[in-house]
Symmetry: C2
Subunit: 283 residues, 2 copies
């Protein structure tokens, strides 16, 4: 009995050692790149169907929604996941929020203030490209907050996510896990290919120099926020095709788990059919 992708990327409870989790593996999937790309494409129809059901449910008053949280070091492929996995579903039902360095107004509020504003409403698949986790990652590494404030935030995040889940949000948290060597190759590509210059920022190399500190910050954050309500997934992301496949699979599994049904008519179907059949000719 082999594990599924979802089983394989689910983070175990307890202390986290990212160096012990492979970055270039394809756990839970037996095929190669071409197989993975086909498997991803094959999900499109079911994803579209389930997403439309989620959307339809909303018209019948359902509060359910999905929130996909994407975290990872620079170049880990958050944008690629948005394009290739999230891009499979109807853009009408998707709300993507990218969190950059906070503005002055955002900094004058609690760290979750801007996060609340980016939450998906009922019926939507929301996607966070970076998230409230930056407030315990870069904030910790760069000392943007005091240690006791960072400490407070782990608990605040768990409470926040538990509330989201209780309100009807399915939370899928993914850390895209690449090796330092893979990051180096991707940064090199951005410097070699003029079509990728726009993705490069000299500050990326300053952040890269702090790799061990970021790894430690991730390990602590993952351990402290790997809850029953909102567990973490660590996705080997050196292979772009596996990264896309794994995230799409988690999204598909989450939607399947909602047992989404087409809502019943909230009007008298036969009466409306008669009205349409007996209308004064329209032209």
């Amino acid at each position: 009995m082999t594990d599924t992708i979802a089983d394989s990327v689910r983070l175990d409870r307890g202390p986290v050692d990212l160096t012990a989790i492979e970055t270039d593996a394809a756990p839970g999937f037996a095929g190669k790149k071409a197989d993975g790309q086909s498997a991803l494409a094959d999900m499109a129809t079911e994803l579209a169907d389930l997403q439309e059901r989620l959307w339809a449910e909303r018209t019948a008053g359902s509060e359910r929604r999905v929130l996909l949280v994407l975290q990872g070091m620079d170049t880990s492929g958050k944008g690629g996941v948005l394009r290739h996995a999230v891009g499979l579903i109807d853009p009408q039902g998707v709300r993507i929020t990218s969190f950059k360095a906070p503005t002055e107004e955002e900094k004058a509020h609690d760290f979750l203030w801007r996060i609340e504003k980016g939450l998906p409403s009922a019926g939507y698949v929301g996607v966070f490209d970076r998230s409230h986790y930056e407030d315990v990652l870069i904030a910790r590494v760069r000392g943007f907050a005091e240690p006791d404030e960072i400490e407070r935030r782990y608990g605040a995040i768990n409470d926040f996510e538990a509330r989201l889940v209780a309100e009807g949000t399915t939370v899928i948290k993914c850390m895209l896990h690449i090796s330092a060597d893979e990051q180096k190759a991707r940064l090199q590509e951005r410097l070699d290919n003029p079509e990728k210059f726009y993705k490069f920022n000299p500050g990326d190399l300053d952040e890269r120099a702090l790799w061990p500190a970021y790894r430690e910050a991730y390990e602590i954050a993952l351990e402290r926020t790997n809850t029953e309500a909102a567990p973490w997934h660590v996705i080997p992301a050196d292979k772009k095709w596996f990264r896309n496949l794994a995230v799409a699979q988690l999204l598909l599994d989450a939607l399947r788990g909602l047992d989404l049904q087409w809502p019943a008519a909230d009007f008298d179907v036969e009466a409306e059919k008669r009205r349409l059949a007996e209308e004064t000719p329209v032209r």
Copy 2:
């Protein structure tokens, strides 16, 4: 010399008679349904490339953006265009805003207040699913505003759109044009197929009974706002495949017309390459 799709769907200046514009045609395209679907799929790569360039330009300070305005009677296929045409491009670079009946807060402001809030920022392809045109369409038909206020709005819309264009927005306005018979068939389908019940609202039949008044309101709005800066396109939309193809073609033409270039590096490429090559090993 045959006309292109864009030439064929561009609305001529002057009085508009929608009954004289075919709804089930495929003007400017010689093929059948399967050819149209292939032609649409074939646009995906170029659309993705140009959209990424638009996005990249933004990092270099460009103010350019695109706004696609979708209008049409109920069931005319605005959602289908979002799914099948807009869905071809990277969702990161798309901002869709759906305008429903205005809220009390929105009604307490000028009709363009909520529209401003939905505008795409630089680098984005914004899409309006319904728009400020509702304020001269349903508002006129249903008498939600006085005639002199409706009159004022045509000019206000032209001034507003001229400003958007001057600020760097390419505005693409599309009216999805279906026949009354086609609408009847689509409403019937929503009543026959339980998976489509959620799309049906008994009020749709009340609106349908006002078809001639809506047609007149469209004709006036199209004539009054068919400006050089932001011209209208009337897309025959009985054939869903042509509707999707035509809108995607207009989007592609607009992006091509921007002559989008990858921005030059705003950093010293060789210096950054040396920094990366000479870094202290990271692991």
